[in-house]
Amino acid sequence: MEARRPVFEIEGLHIDYATELGVLHAVRDVSLAVREHESFGLVGESGSGKSTLAMGAIRYLASNGRVTEGSVRLNGVDLLSLSGKELRELWGSRIGVVYQSPLSALNPSIVIGKQLAEVAQQHLGMDRAAAVGRVTEMLTKVAMPDPEAVMKRYPHQLSGGMLQRCVIAMALMTDPSLLIMDEPTTALDVTTQAVVLDLVADLKRESDSAILYITHDLGVITKICDRVGVMYAGEFMEQADLYELFKRPRHPYTLDLLGCVPRFDPTPQKRSLVTIPGAIPRVDELPHGCIFGPRCGFVEEACKAARPPLAEVAADHLSACRRWADVPPPAQYLREATEAVRTDVEGTRPDVLVAADRTRVHFKSTRRLIRGRAARPIRAVDGVDLEVRVGQTLGVVGESGSGKTTVARAIIGLTPATGGEITLHGKPLPPSTGKRPRATLREIQMVFQNPDASLNPTRSVGDAIMRPLTLLGGLSRQEARKQSKDLLRAVSLPVSYFERLPHELSGGEKQRVAIARAFAAEPELILCDEPISSLDVSVQGSLMNLLMKLQVEKQTSYVFISHDLSAVQHLSDAIAVVYLGHVMEIGDATRVLTPPFHPYTEALLSAVPLADPDIVQKPIRLGGSVPSAMDVPSGCRFHPRCPRFLGDICVEQEPPWREGEGDHRIYCHIPLDELTRLQAETLVLAGAEAGA
């Protein structure tokens, strides 16, 4: 490859924040270069300083933030020496920015067209009419259907994916030299994320912009970036080209991050994930020597003496580790650092614990008679059949709006089912919690997505765990106290946390408390509703390990709800794929994740960004978004978006359940062998693992 000209160069940058605690050195001695046509991925957990670095480099900092040292050059122009006016001429013209949440990044009370035209008017010297023309052109370029109509809309009238296209169009309006993308797909559904990532990849090929791409998602990085920098607590740990970084990392932190992410591996064996002990240090409490030292598996006495500099260890490969030469290839490390939690013997099948039979949850619509249309119910869950077996995990996947959460709430009784039957050990359960006997309430517990909302902020951790013990377990306070301390140990929290309040805990710790509380009642089934989605990758990994460990110890069954197919496949024995309140495919995890797939499963699989540059995913994309549960399409409800749409039969007739091996079932008009033939290449493993 020819040497490309660097467009954006940061050298020795330091960013400080003046706070009440004193001056915080948020970013320290950071350098990077983004070359033309190149996209540089900035990865790291929350608190690693990636956004601060990007925003500080273009001099957009809060009033207490300051660049104290270093230089930033865009096409050779020193950004740090510019006046405010000169800087504003670069912002929006030479530098475009795409933000995490497109809905909040756009002004709610101004129509889209006007917000986009503003950029053209400001920087391209266009009048209103010319600017509108430019906006139409840009919206067409980002594949926006019907740009004229979109321009007249307000942000809340568009879906997340459409809005992010608008923001991207806005950022590219002036052909900027530098495009900063700060977690642009994090707030979107996987299927929408895939579409937006395709768009970014296309734009990258066509435009001359250099891209600085910020994300915590290693999967997304593989789709977009050429070069990657791994940040930790305000410094770079490693910088290398994408493939090299994933296949031959030279820093233990990178190695650990790769190990935290579940690998796509549809085998019945369940392995633990790599965990990183401890937490990212605060920038005012950095350890001596190597800042990753206290959490590093490769640490030696010498590492604690002095902070190792970021040095070139191979061509274009920088690492801040003294022991870079001892860092093993990821494949080998994964085998050594993780263990098999359990291997199920094929053919053995535990008893059914909970079964849902044609379960429906219909809500009354609050909208009555609008222009003569009769009131229709909201069909949130519309005939779901599933089974959870003793000691096993049923994974439930689907886009937002698919009704996954409502299914779980119907099982536990928080949202009473309006039809069908739910049984526990073969005995039917009353629909609502109020009618269920206390012993039954004990059997089913739930862990919610947001522990901040599910833990009472004024109750101590101990109180939260003791409550189910005394209420449902019938223990005295003294016994409950003792047992809740055991539970704290079981979820790997120090017993001293008993007296703490939720706000004194980190997000991952709070979720551990929620898990301990769920286990306190000694339930047979725990419903986990996106329990790890809002957490950092390293925390996600350790929580998944915890859930697996406790399941083996206590023989508890899980329903694990997530939009993250990687996490679901890692934990689940069986998987149900849900779309618009109906199961599309269900069966053993291995069978669901290998052909034949339901076309919806296939699309989800092809949309999940897998953190392995060797896996080539066939681009199968879903247009639009999940329809409203008030307007469920006729025939097969997936037909308007189905990439394998057959014709009238899909519109007119409900598909049959096609029975595969084991209890694998697919709800589709296409016969299974036909699906198998069509889907042979959905995931392609490219080449052998380099360096392994």
Binding site: Y60, R88, W91, V97, N107, I110
Partner: protein, 314 residues
């Protein structure tokens, strides 16, 4: 949007009916006999009984109420027993006067309040912000009869710039009345100012931290353009509601100020009516104030919906 307005209109009628029941009930249980009040303590029982029959006071209370409300709706507001004139023209004349006072006060505190609130928000946590916040808050706590007296002492008694009393001829035109309106208007404005300042400040501070303001800045727009096109449009929404409700509050709440300055407005009229136990006048005035208040709220809601696309397109 039409459904929204109709719904609100329905609620409004309900509120007014409820208020009318309370007003009617409160005025009929008011201590003191109307006939005695009108005819004097030495009137014969026959004369009193005759007057009661004339006023319909001997009928059941429900009948009295519905007769009254029906007449009120038709515009027959009765005759004031204390002045022996028709109630409606007097009330409307005084309402006009209160309106003139309210408008002057409004023109003073709304622009000033928004300006001070914006300055405080843009310079938040500086000495300027603190002094604006503390200063405006001090006036909320100061009752009108205190601030009014202080203003009179300074501007009328000491400096002799403005008249100390506003007991103008109730039929004066706006121009004639204007010099007499300034001091009472300032008095009213001082108490309302703080609400506008605080509302503007807090909503502007919120909006300034929004992601879309960051987007606007990083578009390279000038700070002035960011403020006027992106910040104000959103941050003034709650302020507009406060201001619109404030109009109703102003007109109903002028009793104290109008008394301090002896200004012939609706508040002063209500006080007069209560002192004279003038039932017809009290009922008519009180219900009118309720209607004005409710209409102001409705206008505030509609205005908010019109200015906020998220509500407009629901």
């Amino acid at each position: 949007m039409l459904r929204f307005i109709l719904r609100r209109l329905g609620f409004m009628v309900l509120t007014v009916i409820l208020a009318s029941i309370i007003i009617f009930w409160a005025t009929t249980v008011l201590p003191g006999d109307v006939a005695t009040m009108v005819l004097g303590r030495f009137a014969t029982p026959q004369a009193k009984a005759k007057l009661r029959t004339e006023l319909g006071l001997d009928k059941p209370i429900a009948v009295q109420y519905s007769t009254w409300l029906g007449k009120y709706a038709r515009g027959d507001w009765g005759k004031s027993v204390s002045t022996d004139t028709a109630v409606r023209p007097v009330v409307f004349q005084r309402l006009r006067n209160s309106f003139m006072l309210a408008i002057v006060a409004f023109a003073l505190y709304v622009p000033l309040g928004i300006l001070l609130g914006l300055v405080a928000a843009l310079k938040r946590n500086t000495w300027l912000d603190n002094s604006i916040s503390v200063g405006s808050l001090a006036f909320i706590g100061l009752p009108e009869f205190v601030s009014g007296v202080i203003l009179i002492t300074i501007f009328a008694v000491e400096l002799k710039w403005l008249p100390s009393q506003s007991a103008i001829d109730p039929q004066s035109t706006f121009v004639q009345a204007f010099p007499y309106l300034i001091l009472p208007a300032i008095t009213v404005a001082l108490t309302s100012l703080a609400y506008v300042v605080r509302m503007t400040r807090s909503s502007t501070v919120d909006v300034l931290q929004m992601d879309y303001v960051r987007t606007a800045n990083l578009k390279g727009l000038t700070p002035r353009r960011v403020l006027f096109t992106h910040v104000l449009r959103n941050s003034l929404l709650p302020t507009i509601t406060v201001v619109a409700i404030g109009i109703g509050w102003l007109i109903g709440g002028l009793i104290v100020t109008e008394s301090v300055y002896d200004y012939p407005g609706i508040g002063r009229l209500l006080l007069f009516a209560i002192q004279r136990r003038d039932l017809q006048l009290i009922q008519a005035t009180a219900l009118l104030i309720v209607i004005i208040y409710v209409v102001a709220n409705l206008v505030a809601d509609i205005l908010y919906a019109v200015l906020n696309p998220r509500i407009r397109y629901q």
